[in-house]
C-alpha cells in the first residue's frame, strides 16, 4: 500500500525561485545550519574560553582577538546562531509535548522565536562585545 502511494507520479515543482518556504521551514533550516556552525566553531570558542581564564598573557590575547572588528562581527553572528538555536530548540521541545502544534500557533511561535532571538542577540551582543 505505502509503496504504491510512493511510486505514484507526483507533480514536481523545481522552479526554485517560485518555491516559498513557510516561516516554520525557514526557522527549521536555520536551526540546522546554526547547530552545524556552532559545532564547527567549537574549537574557536573553547580556545577563547581557555585564554579568557588561563593567565594574564592569554587574557590579553583573548581581549585583543575579541576587540578586533571582524571578530566582533563573527561573534555577533555566532551569538545570533546560538540564540536562534536556543529559542527554536525550546519551541521544538514544546512541540514535542504537543504545545503549539496547529498551523496558526506554529507560525506565531516561529515569529516569536525570530523576534526574541534577534532581541537577545542585540542585548547580549552589545553587552559583551561593545
Amino acid at each position: 500500500m505505502a509503496e504504491m502511494a510512493i511510486k505514484k507520479k507526483r507533480p514536481k515543482n523545481l522552479d526554485l525561485p517560485t518555491i516559498r518556504l513557510p516561516l516554520p521551514g525557514i526557522l527549521s533550516i536555520i536551526h540546522r545550519i546554526s547547530g552545524a556552525a556552532l559545532f564547527l566553531l567549537l574549537p574557536f570558542l573553547l580556545w577563547l574560553f581557555e585564554s579568557s581564564l588561563t593567565s594574564a598573557e592569554t587574557f590579553a590575547s583573548f581581549k585583543a582577538v575579541v576587540d578586533h572588528g571582524l571578530v566582533k562581527i563573527i561573534l555577533l553572528g555566532l551569538i545570533w546562531f546560538y540564540m536562534h538555536h536556543f529559542c527554536a530548540g525550546i519551541r521544538y521541545l514544546l512541540l514535542d509535548v504537543d504545545i503549539g502544534v496547529d498551523l496558526k500557533e506554529a507560525i506565531l511561535s516561529s515569529k516569536i522565536v525570530f523576534g526574541v532571538s534577534i532581541a537577545l542577540t542585540l542585548i547580549v551582543g552589545v553587552q559583551v562585545l561593545w
Binding site: 547547530g35 559545532f39 574549537p43 574560553f49 581564564l53 588561563t54 553587552q127
Partner: protein, 115 residues
C-alpha cells in the same frame, strides 16, 4: 550470521531522549550564564576567574559542556545520515566527529580544573 546494521537511522528513542535532556540542561545553563555575565563580564582576569572558581558554576559549566558535546554528537550524526549516503564516508565522518568531541571534552575539563 549476525546482521547488524552499523550505519543508518536505527539508533532510535534513546538518542532522541538524550538530545532533549541535554537541550534542557543547556537551556537552563544559558539562562544562568546570561544572568551571571549581566553582572560579571570578562572584564578582568581575576573577577572572570572568580566566576568559575566557585563549586556551583564550575560544575554547572562542566555539565553544560558535557551536554553540548553529547548533543552535538547526536545532531551532527543525524546530519551526516541525512546528506552522506556512501557508507564508508559516512562512517568516517561519524568517527571523526566522535573523536573531536571526546577531545573537546578532555580540553574542557582541563580548562575548568586548571583555573
Amino acid at each position: 550470521m549476525v546482521n547488524r546494521i552499523l550505519v543508518g537511522a536505527h539508533y532510535g528513542l534513546k538518542d532522541w531522549v538524550i538530545q532533549r535532556a541535554t537541550a534542557i540542561v543547556m537551556a537552563v545553563y544559558t539562562v544562568i550564564f546570561l544572568v551571571v555575565i549581566g553582572s560579571v563580564g570578562p572584564d578582568s582576569l581575576e573577577s572572570w576567574r572568580g566566576v568559575f572558581a566557585g563549586g556551583f558554576m564550575r560544575f554547572a559549566t562542566f555539565l553544560f559542556f558535557v551536554s553540548v558535546f553529547y548533543h552535538a554528537w547526536i545532531g551532527i550524526r543525524d546530519i551526516w545520515m541525512d546528506y552522506i549516503k556512501p557508507d564508508g564516508i559516512r562512517l568516517l565522518l561519524m568517527v571523526a566527529t566522535a573523536t573531536v568531541l571526546v577531545g573537546y571534552a578532555g580540553w574542557a575539563i582541563r580548562i575548568l580544573w586548571r583555573t
